[in-house]
Amino acid sequence: MGIEISNVSKYFGDFAALDGIDLKIPDGELTALLGPSGSGKTTLLRIIAGLETPDQGSIRFFGEDATQKRTRDRKVGFVFQHYALFKHMTIFENIAFGLRIRPRKSRPDKETIRAKVERLLDMVQLNGMARRFPSELSGGQKQRVALARALAVEPKVLLLDEPFGALDAKVRQELRRWLRYLHDELHITSVFVTHDQEEALEVSDRIVILNKGGIEQIGTPEEVYDNPVNPFVYGFLGNVNLFHARFEEGVLSLRHREKDDGDPTLFIRPHDISIAPDNADGKGIAARVLTHKVLGNRVRVTLKTLEGDREAEAEIGKKEWNALKGNDLDAIYLRILEAKIYAPNETWSDYVI
């Protein structure tokens, strides 16, 4: 096991930033700590790095207790959201910093350092930038330098705090893929913090979803996306439509307008709603189109059911939309392709209108 976190709590005054966290981070994997702001994800990362001290609990690195170890003895690489490059040093000096400050007996000689920095610059695709200063680099380049600097000291663990948070969308995309590629090459145990579910789903091997200082769910991106364990995780991983329903003889009924206590709520992703001009199989819910927005090759359609005045958002393909838009948009039918219920007796297979 790479990193073992047991029963870690951290309080800021009365506020519990982390409340009894137990987490195992496997060796060689890229793990995402995902959660909204204030969920404690950054605090947890900083505790792993030793930049914060937990009020309770312990941290083990590869079986060895590291709770009392100082940051500089933990052998972690840390990448900050705002790069934290040393402004007064060149790119070369930044990357060499961790090696040059070593005590003389463990410090590599000049030539070794130079060769290593060159290799790292090559790896982060910044050859020829060695003599530049951080202020002469773009955000994406700065973050790659920060990564090279962290890797120069050959850390056992790589920690990244919202590493792409300060970059614009296109660079963020590129850097994400590049990080994934780099991790596949190096296989260094890595943890990165993000509030962007798409980023977590795309980059990581495993996702840990945090909320209010606790862990909600741990799993592979596919597991957590397909089987969110609770409404919070469901809502956090993507857009959601809420419909309330009632069980009637094992069948879910959507025809009730008022919600009773104990009525289950249906969680439906926008892409799990389809729209048709007719009600061929009798499963359609009559609705009308309020607005639509074309997002590249997807179209986000806002609908309102004719009965019950419930608003729903559907996301359909451009082609389907083009086929649909010639029809009377005030009388169409929406169908629920897939939904999730968080209720005690949540087995259901069908619904009626």
């Binding site: 790095a49 930049l51 500089r72 003895d73 840390f78 402004k87 007064h88 910093f97 400050i101 600097r149």
Partner: protein
């Protein structure tokens, strides 16, 4: 560029030249003219003729105050003044005061700024307010504080000394059988604090304390903790952190604080006047000596020393402006 100049829509057309003119006039009358006077008097440039020429008078020159007319051959007086043993002693004492106070206040200022910006602790806001205290109170009072502590009627004269003899602790007595206070003991050992050089050092230390810390605190707050945390994760020790990461970032601000501290240390009058005792050639700094000379109607010498002090101030100003320029460039770059 062929684009027409943008019309100024924010203020009436006449306001800007008027404001600039008023400010310039004020600057010339109250700052530039006195400054020129000091140097011209010290070097005995004939201000009367100069003014007459500048203002276009011919023949009859305007009457100037007798002060300006009563000067002799300035240049030689100037040289004589700087040869004077007491003048030299005053210059020396002022320089020693700077050499004593600036390193100490730099050291403690950096420590304080570090503590305030890097750590969270109770009473931090109180501490920040306390830093400003020497600026808030009159320098005369700053001087009096030291008289109250170290003077003959001060706290030190209320502290009795004890001695350990025959297995018992007894009060220390002098030859006449009187109790010996800490003050008396210090005097007996020729360790005068007030009305002596140590008092001047202490008073100057007090009034110049805020400059470095005040300059560094906003700078270090702006810098944040990221750089230092990055250095920590890369294995840096506390010293490496300070000298390789923090100091390069704050060095211009630090230098700026040091310059201000030096300027104030060399120019301080009020606090030093209270604790000095004005022993000529021993406890007179440059500003104090100028005042003594002036009081004795030795205008030529007074102006000579004053011009030297002013020159130091002007050099400081130029250095300060240069540092400000660098700091500004650093912030925007």
């Amino acid at each position: 560029m062929n684009a027409p100049a943008l019309k100024n829509c924010l203020e009436p057309r006449w306001l800007r030249p008027l404001l600039i003119a008023v400010a310039l006039l004020f600057l010339v009358v109250f700052i530039l003219l006195p400054l020129v006077t000091i140097f011209s008097q010290a070097l005995d440039v004939n201000l009367q003729d100069y003014l007459a020429a500048a203002l276009g008078y011919e023949g009859a020159t305007p009457e100037l105050p007798p002060l300006f007319a009563s000067l002799g051959d300035g240049a030689s007086v100037y040289r004589a003044a700087l040869d004077d043993a007491e003048v030299r002693a005053a210059i020396r004492l002022s320089l020693f005061t700077v050499l004593f106070c600036v390193p100490l206040n730099t050291f403690f200022g950096v420590m304080l700024a570090w503590a305030i910006t890097k750590f969270d602790f109770r009473g931090k806001n109180l501490l920040i307010s306390l830093i400003e205290l020497p600026f808030a109170i009159s320098p005369v009072i700053a001087g009096l504080i030291f008289i109250l502590i170290f003077g003959a009627s001060g706290w030190l004269n209320m502290v009795d000394l004890y001695t350990f003899a025959d297995g018992r602790i007894t009060k220390l007595l002098d030859a006449d059988g009187n109790t010996v206070t800490l003050y008396k003991w210090l005097m007996a050992h020729d360790l005068k604090i007030v009305f002596a050089v140590p008092g001047i050092f202490l008073a100057t230390l007090f009034v110049t304390f805020p400059f470095v810390a005040r300059e560094l605190i906003p700078l270090m707050q702006e810098m944040g903790k990221d750089d230092e945390e990055a250095a920590l994760t890369l294995g840096a020790s506390g010293w490496q952190l300070f000298f390789k990461v923090t100091l390069p970032n704050i060095k211009w601000g630090l230098l700026y604080g040091v310059i201000l501290t030096s300027a104030r240390a060399i120019g301080e009058f009020g606090a030093v006047a209270v604790v000095s005792g004005n022993v000529r050639g021993e406890t007179t700094t440059m500003p104090l000596y100028i005042e003594i000379l002036y009081g004795e109607y030795q205008f030529a010498t007074a102006f000579a020393v004053a011009s030297l002090l002013t020159l130091i101030a002007l050099v400081t100003l130029v250095v300060k402006a240069a540092i400000e320029y660098v700091l500004k460039k650093q912030r925007t770059g």
